[in-house]
């Protein structure tokens, strides 16, 4: 076994060294240099807070009065993750090899067991990095030996989870090979879950009445205490014991306790390792398939798409039948909607938003709400406002991603007998239309929920006017803000190559930040004249009427006009860029 493991060591160390060298060399290009600097600054300031604050040093939490034991919470999370690997496994046992690894390792004189060990060894680097990340995120990272102990604790958890997932997939594959259908296997797991639920119910019946769900909104201390009582009564503590053992090192308060807790955790990990390497299961076919799928996914991400097309993708029904003649940009919108899922997916989304809207309307027109319903209303409303806020940046980014995909097929686009402005409008209109529909839905639902904020359950006419004006502003606003990032992609194609941006790393994070900042600037630049002329219109309208709603409508109308002009000029400019674009340029 030494030769393959040595070979793996060679592969990993050389690849790492060459990868670092490659990245350092490409810093000679400004986009990577700026990206790396910004990415480094981002990580420094983001994690600097964690490094400096030492939010959870040894001893932290010791003696802190809390009704809920976090160790049990972590054990439950661990149990849930493990159960998922039995309920939702891949259709066949697969190990995550790359296509190159399969090409070199599968025909080589290496046993199946050695292949498994090689893959497990290779995953250690990633798991270790992830453990460092988790330690940082948990606020347990501060210089000195303590941090290494914490990283060690996370490493044991991650490895045990990884091994269990693999072992479960092997065991299920073995059952399948012996003729146990997926349905039967799921039935067994579901029965186990039912038994667990019965145990919980048995325990619950021995406890006092549960508190109202609405108490969560008021801090949830009562609810947490109740859950904690369930978890400490009856058979549940015994059921969770092995999971607590794996999690235990991360909940110790000094180095000696940590080492004492580490031994059983390592023992469980070792048992998992033996279980996995002794399972002689055929994973080759599924691994080849998985490698192919992963390669297709990476290629799709390189093209700027969110997911890879698969052979099982079904033909989608368009929202409408496209006529062979008419305004050409409509064809692009038609294509975009088809790409977004066609009639079926869009109908589902429409149904989802309609259900939310109906719920919001019902809530807004009902009498005084119970604390539970009030919590639900707050969650829905907050979700709508967050969706709106994110969409202001996301729609522009999505449009520019779509345009960049178009650049990859520029040779074809340029052969179409269509002026550049129509191409630009067509590429932008799809994402803008979809985004605007989502924004309108969110805005409508959020406005309906506003009824709940006042004592009279009525929405002020001014609020309705503002919501109406915002709804009218949104399509032109989205179009205007999408133009600058798209123009950037056409003016500096070298900065916007999706296949290069797909490579993860510090510089890539920085480049994404640069794009995000540019998008924010685009939003601000687009809004300056709108706000200025809108304000002028608002005050000018004051000379003719004192009614606030009419003045708001005048301001909104002017803003829409300005934004529409901006959008028109922008599309014309983008069109001229399309016409002049040289697909071979690298500026």
């Amino acid at each position: 076994m030494n030769a393959p493991v040595n070979a793996l060591g060679y592969l990993v160390t050389r690849s790492l060294a060459n990868g670092v060298l490659f990245r350092v060399r490409r810093l000679r290009r400004p986009k990577y240099l700026f990206g790396a600097l910004l990415g480094a600054a981002y990580f420094y300031f983001y994690f600097g807070g964690f490094l400096g604050s030492s939010r959870m040093p040894w001893g932290a939490g010791k003696g802190t009065p809390s009704p809920f034991d976090p160790e049990i919470g972590a054990a439950i999370l661990f149990l849930a993750t493990i159960l998922l690997s039995w309920i939702l496994p891949a259709s066949r046992a697969a190990i995550g090899f790359t296509e190159a690894e399969i090409a070199f390792l599968f025909p080589a004189p290496i046993t199946r067991r050695t292949l498994v060990i090689m893959r497990l060894l290779k995953s250690q680097f990633g798991l270790l990095l992830f453990s460092v990340f988790m330690t940082l995120l948990a606020g347990q990272f501060h210089f000195g030996a303590d941090a290494w102990f914490r990283i060690g604790g996370w490493w044991v958890i991650m490895n045990t989870l990884n091994l269990h997932r693999l072992g479960a997939s092997f065991a299920l594959q073995r059952l399948r090979e012996r003729g146990m259908a997926d349905g039967k296997r799921r039935t067994v797991v579901v029965l186990a879950l039912v038994a667990l639920a019965v145990l919980v119910e048995y325990t619950r019946r021995r406890l006092p009445t549960p508190p109202d769900l609405g108490t969560i909104a008021g801090g949830g201390a009562e609810f947490t205490r109740y859950i904690s009582q369930i978890l400490h009564t009856g058979p549940l503590p015994y059921l969770l014991a092995p999971f607590k053992l794996v999690m235990a090192p991360n909940f110790t308060h000094d180095a000696v306790a940590f080492l004492r807790a580490l031994l059983p955790a390592l023992g469980i990990m070792a048992l998992h390792f033996i279980w996995v390497v002794r399972a002689d299961v055929s994973f080759e076919d599924a691994s080849i398939e998985a490698a192919k799928t992963r390669a297709a996914f990476l290629a799709a991400r390189g093209r700027g798409e969110l997911r890879a097309r698969s052979g099982s993708d079904k033909a989608r029904t368009p929202l409408w039948r496209l006529r062979p003649t008419g305004f050409a940009p409509v064809a692009f919108v038609w294509k975009s909607l088809l790409k977004a899922g066609g009639r079926r997916t869009l109908t589902r989304w429409a149904g989802f938003f309609a259900a939310l809207a109906a719920g919001a309307w019902a809530l807004g027109h009902s009498g005084p709400l119970s604390p539970t319903l009030k919590t639900v209303a707050i969650i829905i409303g907050a979700g709508c406002y967050i969706t709106l806020l994110i969409s202001f940046v996301m729609i522009g980014q999505h449009a520019s991603a779509q345009l960049r995909q178009g650049i990859a097929a520029m040779d074809l686009l340029k052969t179409y007998p269509i002026p550049g402005w129509q191409l630009a409008l067509g590429e932008l209109a799809g994402p803008v239309a979809l985004g605007t529909l989502m924004q309108w839905s969110s805005l409508g639902i959020a406005t309906m929920l506003l009824r709940l904020s006042g004592p009279t359950h009525e929405i002020a006419p001014l609020i309705l006017s503002i919501a109406g004006v915002v709804a009218l502003l949104l399509p032109v606003f989205n179009l205007s803000t999408a133009i600058l990032p798209c123009a950037g992609a056409l003016l500096f194609p070298g900065w916007f190559r999706p296949q290069e941006a797909a490579t993860p790393g510090l510089e890539n994070t920085g480049m994404k930040l640069i794009l995000g900042i540019a998008q924010m600037l685009a939003v601000i630049v687009a809004l300056i004249p709108v706000v200025f002329f809108g304000a002028v219109a608002f005050f000018a309208a004051g000379k003719f009427t004192a009614i606030l709603e009419w003045r708001a409508l005048a301001a909104g109308g002017t803003a829409i006009l300005i934004l529409a002009m901006e959008a028109g000029l922008g599309v014309a400019w983008l069109g001229s860029l399309y016409d002049k674009f040289d697909a071979s340029s690298d500026s």
């Binding site: 030769a3 393959p4 040595n6 070979a7 060679y10 592969l11 050389r14 690849s15 790492l16 060459n18 990868g19 490659f22 296509e99 190159a100 690894e101 399969i102 090409a103 070199f104 390792l105 599968f106 025909p107 080589a108 004189p109 290496i110 046993t111 055929s282 080759e284 076919d285 080849i288």
Partner: protein, 244 residues
């Protein structure tokens, strides 16, 4: 020598390869042809020990692939349709890595020779993303040749290459056959296979429908025309499956 007996591969209820039996003697080149989805790649992968066969026996130089996979795999090389290389290993490092996998003692000398033969010497320290497809194919060939295998499997080795690269690859395959290597090539380029292969096996929906030397196949399936090409015979035999 490659000896295959009753090779069958099932994917659930789907039979990808059914009861395939043949041998390829040292120094012989067998063309494996068939329409898309006929089971060529699956058969090659089974024979190279990449995926397990559901049934049947495969011997590589008298080593049973199931019973003694390490001994069998030491003597074979598999060349996939698309050269799949490690992004961050240089050409030379690919050879060093392969040498370590197969424990090739005189790897440095062999690597130097292969780099020269395949005109890769000036690319030895280059990473794969900087190479053309033809160059990547050459790197894959160099890695496969390094441990001097006695059996070689080529899956579509000529697709996507320019005429000069096709000529060179054909010459290399012929040279290996002259050196006593048993070779199986799958390809759709039938006129090129005619130049290289001594035998042909035609697959249709996983089953063998013709097998023999080119002359035997011509004699058996010519239907009046004495000078039928392999392409004409293939279309006659495969019928409606061709072009799918």
């Amino acid at each position: 020598m490659i000896a295959v007996e009753g090779l069958t591969k099932l994917y659930g209820d789907v039979t990808a390869v059914s009861d395939l039996t043949f041998t390829v003697e040292p120094g012989k080149v067998m063309g494996l042809v068939g329409p898309n989805g006929a089971g060529k790649t699956t058969a090659l992968r089974c024979m190279a020990g990449i995926i397990p066969a559901t049934q049947g026996r495969i011997e590589i130089e008298s080593h049973d692939l199931r019973e003694d996979p390490l001994a069998a795999k030491k003597l074979l090389a598999f060349f996939p349709d698309e050269p799949r290389l490690f992004d961050y290993l240089t050409v030379r490092q690919h050879l060093e890595f392969t040498a370590r996998l197969y424990q090739v003692r005189d790897a440095a000398d062999r690597a130097r020779e292969l780099l020269e033969t395949l005109e890769l010497t000036d690319k030895a320290n280059v990473l794969p993303p900087e190479l053309s497809r033809g160059m990547k194919q050459k790197v894959a060939l160099a890695c496969g040749f390094l441990h001097a295998p006695r059996v070689m499997f080529f899956d579509e080795p000529l697709t996507g290459l320019d005429p000069l690269a096709i000529r060179r690859t054909k010459d290399l395959i012929a040279a290996k056959a002259r050196a006593g290597v048993a070779i199986i090539i799958s390809s759709h380029l039938l006129h090129l296979l005619e130049e290289v292969c001594s035998h042909v096996l035609i697959l249709k929906r996983g089953k063998k429908i013709a097998h023999g030397t080119l002359e035997e196949i011509r004699t058996q399936f010519r239907e009046g025309d004495r000078d039928s090409t392999l392409e004409e015979i293939f279309i006659r035999l495969v019928g409606e499956d061709a072009g799918k």
